[in-house]
């Protein structure tokens, strides 16, 4: 306290002196350029001969920009602000810095734009570490294989298409089929994490979306208490195209800040189709040669270098991870279009949502046939693995026989029973939006259906059965749920307990 009250002229002068100790008053030589052209926020400038790609530059009026291309005579700059404010003939100078975003622990729970300016009306982010937007991904030596599950809370995903921490899993499908809902559910589910696992920090990157949609997502996160451990980066459709292009890179730069601290991060890119559009627009304005569907030649590299930054670091390097959930919007379910095939080949698997399933009331409308997780299996717990074998078989048999379902009574008893069981497995995988389920409850639901406890219940009552069953388990099966939460393969005693609890519940349930 005495230190605070003892402020006098002398101490102030001393502080100033200390601050200016290493200030050099030497002549400043700066590399500058002159704006020749401004096309929709993309600047062509002469000069800047010493500038490098990705370097931050400052215009005469204080607006910042980033060098996107260097020609023999010209530099191409994207404006990180109001593009119309830059006029022909104005000066632009180098800053010598690679474009970075300021990240501090207090960024959690905030809504920002891709250059780190707050959009939530709260004060600016405290000064922390400058994280470069463009950076080479971690090399093979720094990484280790995916071995920890990232639970989405969605039965269909956690059981059949499991995601591991550090994985890149694409969510693909037409518009309005619940792609964002899957990502948001996953974020909400990170609220509940197992005691032996680290909490996950979530980053949601909105690219080229309507402001109203972004506001809706923020509200959902708030209502579900998911915002305190999340960060939203928004570059909506009305923002300059340069910001839409930079948004995912800003997101992954923030993710790398937390990953370097050994923390686990989940990043959702919603969506990379619009990101590709933004980059195509920039490239066409820059007069770069257009390729297939007018996308530039480096569109694959754009997404591969972004998604390659998803990582599971080895324990020696802190053990942090970045899990990426890119979203791609298809047209009429065509996953063989240019951008979808690119991103499918980059990622470690995809969750395909289909309009036919959606229209048949199967939600989430995940097509288990086209969906795959290439590395997530290694991260799945033994407890979950022990129940999904039968689910997979039942689903596969159902898909094969579904075409014969219309023949009904003409089928033999075996086929009919397989069809009926298949129907029930489809029913049990249905799940309401924003209602993620813990792994023990998922295991119990799937186990009950695959072990025939719903065979005597009409298929349309399976969801009601599951709802009541979960309530019953939460009341009377705490010990069992705790046992399953350990992730270990259920022992004989546990299996007996599962049977007993389920039989007891069945006595109380009336179809």
């Amino acid at each position: 306290m005495s230190n605070i009250t003892n402020i006098n002229d002398e101490s102030i002068l001393k502080q100033i002196e200390r601050n200016l100790m290493d200030f050099s008053s030497d002549v400043k030589v700066q590399n500058v350029g002159k704006v020749e052209k401004n096309t929709d926020g993309v600047i062509t400038s002469t000069g800047l001969t010493q500038a490098g790609i990705g370097e931050e530059v400052e215009f005469e009026n204080g607006v910042m920009g980033m060098i996107l291309g260097l020609d023999e005579d010209y530099a191409s700059i994207i404006v990180l602000g109001e593009g119309n404010s830059i006029s022909e003939g104005s000066t632009v100078k180098r800053t010598g810095r690679i474009l970075s975003i300021n990240v501090h622990d207090s960024i959690l729970g905030r809504v920002i734009n891709p250059i780190g300016l707050p959009l939530d009306g709260k004060p600016e982010i405290k000064k922390g570490t400058a994280m470069p937007l463009e950076k080479l991904a971690a090399g093979v030596i720094e990484r280790e294989s995916v071995d920890t599950p990232l639970k989405t809370g969605i039965k269909a995903i956690d059981s059949m298409i499991p995601i591991g921490r550090g994985q890149r899993e694409l969510i693909i499908g037409d518009r309005g089929l619940g792609k964002t809902a899957i990502a948001i559910d996953t974020i909400i589910n990170q609220k509940h994490h197992a005691k032996d696992q680290k909490p996950v920090i979530c980053i949601y990157v909105a690219i080229g979306q309507k402001q109203s949609t972004v506001a809706q997502v923020i509200n959902v996160l708030k209502e579900n208490d998911a915002l305190p451990y999340s960060i939203v980066i928004a570059a909506s459709a009305s923002e300059p195209v340069a910001l839409q292009y930079l948004a995912p890179f800003a997101g992954v730069a923030i993710a790398e800040y937390f990953c370097a601290q050994g923390r686990d991060v989940l990043i959702v890119y919603d969506d990379l189709t619009k990101h590709a559009w933004a980059y195509r627009q920039l490239s066409l304005v820059l007069r770069r040669p257009a390729g297939r569907e007018a996308y530039p030649g480096d569109i694959f590299y754009l997404h591969s270098r972004l998604l390659e930054r998803a990582v599971k670091l080895s324990k020696k390097n802190g053990g942090g991870s970045i899990t990426a959930l890119p979203i791609i919007e298809t047209q009429a379910g065509d996953i063989s279009a240019y951008i979808p095939t690119n991103v499918i080949s980059i990622t470690d698997g995809q969750i395909f949502v289909e309009s036919d399933l959606f229209n048949n009331g199967i939600r989430p409308a995940i097509n288990a046939g086209y969906s795959v997780s290439r590395v997530g299996g290694a991260a799945q717990t033994s407890a979950m693995k022990s129940v999904i074998g039968m689910l997979r078989i039942a689903q596969a048999q159902y898909r094969e026989l579904a075409a014969f379902a219309q023949f009904g009574s003409e089928l033999d008893a075996d086929t009919r029973s397989q069809l009926e069981k298949g129907k029930r497995t489809v029913e049990v995988l249905k799940q309401a939006q924003y209602h993620p389920l813990s792994e023990p409850l998922q295991i119990m639901s799937i186990w009950a259906v695959t072990h025939g406890y719903t065979d005597d219940i009409p298929a349309e009552d399976v969801l009601r059965f599951e709802h009541d069953y979960i309530e019953y388990l939460q009341r009377k099966g705490k010990k069992l749920l705790d046992e399953l939460a350990t992730g270990k393969k259920p022992s004989k005693e546990t299996q007996e307990l599962m049977q007993n609890v389920t039989e007891d519940f069945k006595k109380t349930f009336s179809a």
Binding site: Q30, N31, G33, K34, D73
Partner: protein, 118 residues
Amino acid sequence: MKTKLIKKLAQESFANNKLDENRVKIISNKLKRKDLRSYLRVLKILDRESTLYVSMPITDDASVQNTLQIRFPNKKIVYTLNKDLLAGVKIVDNDLLYDFTLQGKIERLIGRFYDTND
């Protein structure tokens, strides 16, 4: 026409580091409209490269003018008056800006304060 050739023509339009009007007339009369555009663009760049832009708070400082003429004998020097600079001189040589002004020093000092007290 190839860009390299246009660049060569633009370079040939200069005599003794100054733009030669006659040469420009001859060349421009022979160029097509599209090439003429590129030619003018390169001429502008070369002209800027051969010109030194000097801003000072006073224009009649003979000592500065003499020093600059000795230091840059082959360049055309354009002087502009800018009282905001307070004292000193600001020189733009192609894409290099040398700031010897008091205004620049004060600005750098303010920037330094912001950086250390952020």
